[in-house]
Symmetry: C2
Subunit: 380 residues, 2 copies
């Protein structure tokens, strides 16, 4: 199989990730922090070490908090619902948001009577229009701004630092969704102006399913949203008040965390970025002159990880099916859990896009094969 669905989940993971998970399963899959015996404490140490790795990954040392959850979806539900809204507040989101943000704010919009405002974009380049956004902020000041860092539909790298800097003029709470970016694009938490950096373990960090969370400097208070046992302060019906316990109910998935821990030990962001960049540029270069292929590509300096495309007279799903059945190539087709951006991409008649997404183990030969297959499909 040629696997070109790395934006859904990276595959394969490094061998040492599998090994670390199997070892954790066999040697210390205990209930961390809840036991009074050595092996359970070892599990707790591994969690603490993994949190340190995550902080260092975004340039933090001896400061900041990490909350580990079972997925970025859970983390985003906790963060966005944890904010104290007042009727009439404005929540800004980009039109590139994934449903892990879009559906959460939509639900809050209904329940709390707050307004969801989409950031304006340039309809030609499909980039966020920062000047228009700043103007909108004046008229409707933001309570909260949620933004995806790298679009999971087009690979567009959003100007999140600028957006958050503008939002901070209004004291807005800023939330960054790095599902596609952490581990692929350098993030400096201090420069980012993000109050919350939500991450997925199983994508560009090359960890497994079952681990995600968020990083924060801890300056913005969050109410609890998901509650339960924390292995601490059991007699108290209130959640513990501090980080990370307040947001970490239920048993830790030590096996998944061990996988992420191993993955983070050998993650060379800059070399993976260069590798993916080269593959994507090669792909774009080789498809751009084929009239039957429509690509939805951002400016090249703001583009990483994937190419979304369509082929004249084909539905996206049909292309996916042919690639799978006839050529054993795995891509993702459809709307990619993004409700809003497709009206700008104008791809709804095609049923969304064919998304070709690469990873650190994707080879140039696989991209060459993919290009040849597309040509065969078109001209044979």
């Amino acid at each position: 199989m040629i696997y070109l669905d790395n934006a859904a989940t990276t595959f394969p993971k490094p061998e040492y990730v599998y090994e670390a998970m199997d070892e954790a399963n066999r040697k210390y899959a205990f209930n961390a922090g809840r036991g009074s015996y050595q092996s359970a404490r070892k599990a707790t140490q591994l969690i603490d070490e993994t949190k340190k790795q995550l902080l260092e990954l975004v340039g933090l040392r001896n400061q900041g908090e990490v909350v580990i959850t079972s997925s970025i979806t859970i983390a985003l539900n906790q963060i966005i619902n944890g904010i104290d809204y007042t009727e009439g507040d404005n929540i800004y989101i980009s039109p590139y948001e994934h449903n892990a943000v879009a559906r959460v704010v939509h639900l809050i919009g209904k329940l709390k009577n707050v307004k969801i405002v989409y950031m304006p974009i340039d309809t030609e380049t499909l980039e966020i229009d920062i000047e228009k956004l700043k103007y909108l902020f004046i008229k409707q000041p933001p309570k909260c701004v949620c933004c995806i860092h790298v679009s999971n539909v087009t690979g567009y790298i959003l100007p999140v630092e600028e957006i958050f800097l503008a939002a901070k003029q209004y004291g807005a709470i800023t939330i960054l969704d790095t599902a596609q970016s952490l581990g692929l694009v350098e993030i400096d938490a201090k420069k980012m102006n993000a109050d919350f950096i939500a991450f997925a373990g199983h994508k560009s960090l090359y960890g497994p399913f079952g681990v995600g969370g968020f990083i924060t400097l801890g300056k913005v208070p969050l109410k609890e949203y998901i509650v339960g046992g924390t292995g601490s302060n059991s007699l108290n019906l209130e959640m513990p008040t501090g980080y990370p316990e307040k947001y970490e109910s239920s048993s830790s998935n030590i096996v998944a965390i061990a996988g992420l821990n191993a993955a983070l030990k050998d993650l060379d962001i800059s070399s993976i970025y260069q590798h993916e960049k080269a593959l994507i540029e090669y792909l774009v270069e080789n498809l751009k002159d084929i009239p039957e292929v429509t690509m939805y590509i951002p400016p090249s300096d703001k583009h990483i990880g994937m190419v979304s495309l369509n082929i004249s007279n084909y539905k996206a799903d049909d292309v996916g099916m042919i690639l799978d059945e006839d050529f054993d190539i795995a891509v993702r087709t459809g709307y990619h859990c993004c409700p809003y951006i497709h009206s700008y991409l104008k791809d709804i008649d095609s049923g969304g896009t064919v998304r070709v997404s690469v990873g650190r183990y994707t080879t140039k030969e696989e991209i060459v094969d993919f290009i040849n297959v597309l040509k065969e499909l078109l001209y044979n």
Copy 2:
């Protein structure tokens, strides 16, 4: 190590659980249901098969729905928050509830102005007093009744069928927490009168961390609480309306599900029950005449899986530490995430209890060793 903390998480898991997880990691750790290629569909099939296994485990065939989440805590948050409350509603819980229920209803109590009512218990036997409960139901009819099946503090098997039958006279919504019981105690969903049966994968089912959920006949509507991408109907900001998608946001943890799937293939509930029963009876028999040992034990026909105890003049935590450091025996000490029952157990001065919990791989020799160690600790 002698591992006597199986109520926190069973350890070890069967060898084939580890193997299934490693195989899933290497062969089909794809984003199930979200791709249009064969390997992703294989992941989806495995999930469907696992749901069928779970339905069969509670006696359901060709009916019922299973929602898979990352933990029972997430499932209970979704269920209990998914109910439509009216100010003044009564939520009943047993005094044995774990914080995965107790803290959730406490939070709802504060936010929605509903009343939390604890089921009455006989202060001698510490059993639920069904007659008093029925009387309470008359005065304060239940909107919802949440009950743990087997106490994670004492191993008491609660009379949940009777409780739910009484609750159903008032049309109450009934929620069963089987964290300690599913896989150990036979459950017949149809006789149980439970609208929701919440389960943990990593305890008596012998699956791994990272998988839990709930089983339902689907008759009681639940609002969405945790939302996000479902890989379906992406353009719609509303969650899908049906089971299971409405409650299954985010990527499925196919590796954990593969582990649970393997575990369920070879789970002989009745023989594990008999094995644990024999170990617990032996333990009780051998400790009952030691005056320094106080055991908190339910009637023997309603008792499974664990013994909670204290030793005169020792704090529970100190016993745990000595067992760990001097004898390499792992038990759990403290309050076990149960906020309410300890005022009845009268163990607060000891800092909770020392909980000795067994599993399918616990041997009689280990229990003999444990008994000898306790005697050594007392008399040497």
